[in-house]
């Protein structure tokens, strides 16, 4: 335990004083502030004609404003944060020849990797919590709506999911830093992974869905099942990307009016009527229930990533420095 806390403390100090971290933090902070401001000032107009608006506070985070919403921003650029914190965790020590010295101290070998992961996790948490708090504060000033207990708990769940999401990328980048000797290689590999999962999987999903279950307009109008099948295939493929998992989970959590992650629904006339007549928000427990599989998968891939780097590191020979 002693080893983990010592290493964690040192890594935290390193993170907070490193230039790249400070740069990235200011970037994210600036973007959050700007988004919050644009959304906050736009909200007043948006809500002008709504009789009884609900969950206005959450709209600070979900409303796209002019460009994108905060949660989209975190979904796309959050991974970079995880990568920056972890891509040189182990191989930097290896190339500076401090690793063999470190593991010859009376600490368990896993303390090294646990301490580093923990330090990254703490940094990520501090960052996200402060961003959410800043936006909340700014929102209070701009729109003057106080969040209720449900909104606060939704925000809290959102934070937990986001921390796990970025921790997944931290895990990936630590894995690369264990596997690759050179710092540049591991950074590039992690960024390649990020680009692949964030941008190409979404694109590839529709292409592959077209190939697997093609839809042509003439037949689709006769047989809507075809459309559904196409949509399902696309969705299954795109769920490979943690970004899809994350965005779906967070939109449901932060927007109580959304009831499903599906984008195409088969509805009878009565259902359609009831939806348009009784536009009521989902209770929190139901929202959580819908995204539960997403949450479990996110946590699972994070743990798998960490466990892999853990085992690889434990089995690595020290001397190959």
């Amino acid at each position: 335990m002693k080893g983990i806390t010592t290493i964690c403390r040192k890594e935290l100090a390193d993170h907070f004083s490193s230039t790249r971290f400070i740069l990235l933090f200011y970037l994210i902070l600036m973007v959050s502030l700007v988004t919050a401001f644009i959304v906050g000032s736009g909200l007043r107009d948006e809500l002008k004609d709504v009789a009884k608006p609900t969950f206005v506070f959450l709209m600070l985070f979900t409303s796209p404003g002019k460009l994108f919403s905060l949660i989209q921003f975190i979904a796309i650029f959050g991974p970079l944060l995880g990568i920056v914190l972890g891509f040189d965790a182990v191989n930097r020590e290896r190339s500076a020849r401090t690793l063999s010295k470190l593991v010859s101290q009376p600490i368990y070998r896993d303390s090294v990797i646990n301490g580093k992961f923990l330090a990254g996790l703490i940094t990520i948490s501090i960052m996200l919590v402060s961003i959410v708090l800043i936006i909340s504060g700014l929102g209070l000033l701009l729109i003057g709506v106080v969040p209720g207990p449900e909104e606060i708990s939704r925000l809290f769940i959102y934070l937990v999911i986001s921390i796990f999401y970025i921790a997944f990328w931290l895990g990936i980048s630590i894995l690369f830093s264990v596997g690759f000797r050179s710092v540049a290689t591991s950074a590039l590999a992690a960024i390649a992974c990020w680009i692949f999962f964030s941008f190409f999987v979404a694109m590839g999903a529709s292409v592959m869905a077209d190939a697997i279950s093609p839809v042509d307009q003439a037949r689709a109008s006769l047989n809507p099942e075809l459309l559904i099948k196409h949509e399902q295939t696309r969705k299954i493929i795109s769920l490979v990307s943690p970004m899809t998992l994350y965005s779906e989970a967070t939109t449901i959590i932060l927007d109580p009016l959304r009831k499903t992650t599906q984008s195409i629904l088969l509805m009878g006339p009565m259902e359609r009527l009831s939806i348009s007549r009784f536009q009521s928000p989902l209770p929190l427990s139901e929202s959580v229930y819908i995204v539960f599989p997403h949450l479990i998968s996110l946590m699972a891939i994070t743990l798998v990533c960490f466990a892999t780097s853990y085992t690889v590191f434990m089995r690595q020979e020290v001397r190959s420095t």
């Binding site: 040192k10 500076a96 020849r97 010295k101 010859s104």
Partner: protein, 252 residues
């Protein structure tokens, strides 16, 4: 030297794939002894050190360091053994005191005690510290001295030094040798060190071991080895001559 065995190995063997890095090594090292570990590059010296530290698992055979089995009880061994790797690295963006403090924390030394110790040690290794100067700006000799201080901060019973005088200027390596000698004489620390500079080894070692291609071909006092190779009355041969003789035979 009261004959207590600090390091004992029994047929210690390490195999990497097809290659036998260390072949059935048997050595006994006494308390307070300075043991010079010689051999060409790639002979398996570092591998042996790593196995004795519990950083690398032996393929077969047993080792005991300070009464502990390095494979099973690595933490106890690492608590008592200081290891200075070849070309030791530091956290270059921290100063010397911060580097030492980190190592002392990893050893579970409370910070207030560590502060006192660090001051003492910097005097022992003769390193003047400017707190504004990061370790990255240190010269080779200063880094090596800082490395020794890091090894000594845990009050070890045994120190493993891998090429401690490599790349030092003549004055620096003389100081290093004096330091090693005083560790053994004044603090009763067992020193197990590897080096290629045979005249230096001859100056400070009580006994030497010569390892060639993973096999320990000779262990003993330099005079005894000379006697064995060149006959009785030939103890005046230097370690260099003895070593070369062993080396040539070992390659055959």
């Amino acid at each position: 030297m009261n004959g207590l065995k600090v390091i004992e190995t029994q047929d210690l063997t390490k195999v990497y794939g097809e290659e036998v890095a260390v072949d059935r090594l048997n050595i006994n090292i006494n308390e307070g002894e300075v043991f010079g570990f010689l051999g060409p590059n790639g002979a398996g010296k570092t591998t042996t050190l790593l196995m004795l530290l519990g950083l690398s698992e032996p393929t077969s055979g047993k080792a005991r360091v300070c009464g502990f089995d390095p494979t099973r009880e690595p933490l106890q061994v690492k608590r008592l053994v200081g290891y200075l790797p070849e070309n030791v690295g530091f956290y270059d963006d921290m100063n010397a005191v911060q580097n030492l403090l980190y190592i002392s924390r990893l050893n579970g030394i409370p910070d207030d005690l560590a502060g006192i110790k660090i001051k003492e040690l910097l005097k022992v290794v003769d390193l003047e510290v400017d707190p504004r100067k990061k370790v990255g700006e240190y010269s080779r000799g200063m880094r090596q001295r800082l490395g020794i201080a890091e090894v000594l901060i845990k009050d070890p019973q045994v120190v493993f030094l891998d090429e401690p005088t490599l790349g030092l200027d003549p004055d620096g390596s003389l100081q290093m040798l004096d330091l090693i000698r005083s560790l053994s004489q004044d603090k009763k620390i067992t020193v197990f060190f590897s080096s290629h500079l045979l005249d230096q080894v001859q100056k400070i070692s009580h006994r030497v071991g010569i390892m060639i291609k993973g096999q320990m071909v000779a262990v003993g006092r330099i005079e005894d080895l000379a006697k064995e190779k060149f006959g009785v009355g030939q103890e005046k041969y230097t370690l260099e001559e003895v070593y070369m003789k062993y080396f040539k035979e070992g390659l055959l």
